[in-house]
Assembly symmetry: C2
Homo-oligomer: 379 residues x 2
């Protein structure tokens, strides 16, 4: 029996919804209370397009928390343990956000729009509730809202040429996470060099949802000569690249030191940022687990993991694989997850209980060492 | 092309997941980051079972925010504008939760478990982030967590007999929202007289997810003689009953006075609850919109609304229908939504732009006056 996604008014539709329907979405998830196309029915073709060509993704589910007002930067600075002394307008930055217990609760990209306006491009939870609670309890002068802003990602080695064809040579000037305001055929946009892959790419932030179909069509047209096609954040590529997926890889007690975000945590700031005391305590003890790759033996996995896989040594739990799949480029079964610090840099053979049976695994540092050359995305 | 729900480790599975799969789920949504069965493929049979018989629903998506510690009640009291002076252990209560702007951000049922432990059985958002932010910023001594607790609802006029057969005559003693701890075949449970319908019913809070299949099977077995079958919160019945669906019916600026929750808001409490100043201001001005039913003319609607329907008078927007469907018991097209206060109690004919064309509508108070007698759930 087919198990369909239910459509109704409780969950929002992206401004690219009709366009993605026409492009043939086969599978949806829901993310930030919006329908999220996650497959168009041919995972290997989508993978191939991303690593060898160019893909366009409806990532409108990356909602923005807009913080505006005299205390906007003050609020952003207490929301993250990252030092923002050198933040500049037009240059984004990845900012871990922790709660008072030191748990990572979101990991958005911060976009400094102007001196009194900042956007947080968030992962899947209600960070707007958190930001408002902190702001109002600390009596800060800010207005916090979710604007009508919806990113469309253009990802892959050929993404840059598509973007240059659409917007011009200034695309080359964007640093990683750099962004610029522009108007394209009358549509107001922010164009950012960013995206949830390591294949190079851009995100086009549409600022008026009425123009979703127009923007989608314009990208599809500009990309046609480069073989652009629809896609979504790619499960295999994100494992190869060691990209974190909040909620999939993290729990209610995962801290940024476990996730190897040490360089993004400045405990010496003279600033009462949220989680400071807890993070100091965690840092002094050292992380109990660490974020690592796994290489697993045996037959290639068919499809991604449906649930987390427990990892053991001599029957004792030492971690888990939160994402696992066969990598066509590495020609190996690989995974991501947290492992006991004791085993984080060891050669020990671990046992992983997968949905495909028991596998032997070794731990490795991230990202995986993936060959750059063009390969066929086949098993 | 079928549009499937994507299964993966980012979204959680209910402890009743396998049981509901066996029972034939046809449609899923996602709610509180958990797969939520919303249909078993025969909406009218599910409706009929709820209003004339008994249905069992996997509502594990109603996650609990557990607040425990010396300041547990203090925190709950500042989280809601409702007066909790007379709260008693074992007697639940519906508690609107507002932010500092007076917007309704959740509408859970509060379960007072013990003097230092309270659960909030929440609608679809990350209320745990909100509760933690307020608690830590106000330096309250509480621990806030999401326990391994998953409600299974038994709803409909025959629900009481099923529950008595399972648990005994004490079920009769439960007042509305009353609950009791019990052990059934070794499984620890809380049994509550509650549920998201007005057909009478109960919710069984499973406190150990390993026993999901056992509990499901036990309810199915006890209910077999009464014709129990699987179901889900019912779209048509909830409209008939005027039940609010957070997020579907509410926005980022919907306040409890608009939702006719006046009796649940005590602005005179000598207590610095969140939103007090904003709610006073809103109350002094009076609500701009009000929560009402709509009766719409024309052919019976086929299926529920997929998006909100705008409501106009002489071309001017005066409200919306956030939920609309044909009622087999009223034999009318009905809907719920917010309408300009000016039209909330008028006989004016309004125009609704539905997916089935333009319809003429009249506003009515809620709930709808549905006949109690058994009727056939057919069009």
């Amino acid at each position: 029996m087919p198990q369909n996604i239910a459509f109704g008014p409780r969950i929002r539709k992206s401004p690219f919804f009709d366009a993605t329907q026409s492009a043939g979405v086969s599978h949806y998830s829901i993310y930030n209370k919006m329908y999220f196309p996650v497959s168009y029915g041919d995972p290997l073709a989508e993978y191939d397009r991303l690593v060898n060509g160019v893909a366009m993704w409806d990532v409108a589910v990356e909602r923005q928390v807009k913080i505006k007002g005299p205390n906007a930067l003050d609020l952003v600075r207490v929301l993250t343990p990252r030092n923002l002394d050198k933040i500049t307008i037009g240059q984004g930055r990845y900012v871990p956000i922790c709660d008072h217990r030191g748990t990572l609760i979101n990991d958005p990209v911060l976009l400094p729009i102007s001196q009194d306006e900042y956007w947080l491009s968030i992962a899947d939870n209600d960070l707007i509730l958190w930001a408002r609670a902190i702001a109002y309890e600390r009596k800060m002068l800010v207005d916090i809202s979710e604007p009508d802003v919806s990113p469309l990602a253009v990802q892959g080695p050929k993404a840059k040429q598509v973007m240059i064809d659409m917007f011009g040579d200034w695309i080359e000037e964007l640093k990683y996470f750099g962004f610029r305001y522009t108007i394209y055929n009358g549509i107001e946009l922010f164009v950012s060099r960013s995206g949830w892959s390591k294949q190079g790419g851009y995100e086009i932030y549409l600022t008026d949802s009425r123009w979703g179909q127009h923007l989608w069509d314009a990208v599809a047209l500009a990309g046609a000569v480069h073989g652009i096609g629809p896609g979504a954040p790619n499960y295999i590529e994100r494992i190869e690249s060691g990209l974190l997926s909040l909620g999939a890889d993290t729990d209610d007690d995962t801290n940024p030191f476990e996730l190897c975000m040490d360089k993004m945590i400045d405990l010496d700031q003279d600033l009462d940022f949220v989680g400071k005391e807890a993070l100091k305590r965690i840092h002094s003890i050292g992380p109990a687990r660490l974020w690592r790759g796994y290489v697993m033996d045996g037959e290639p996995f068919v499809g991604p993991n449906v649930q987390r896989w427990p990892v053991t040594v001599s029957g004792m739990p030492v971690g888990h694989v939160s994402a696992g799949a066969y990598s066509p480029r590495l020609k190996k079964n690989i995974g991501l997850g947290l492992v006991s610090s004791h085993y984080a840099d060891s050669d020990a053979l671990l046992v992983v209980e997968t949905e495909h049976g028991e596998r032997t695994a070794q731990v490795t540092r991230l990202p995986f060492d993936v060959p750059k050359a063009k390969v066929q995305a086949t098993q």
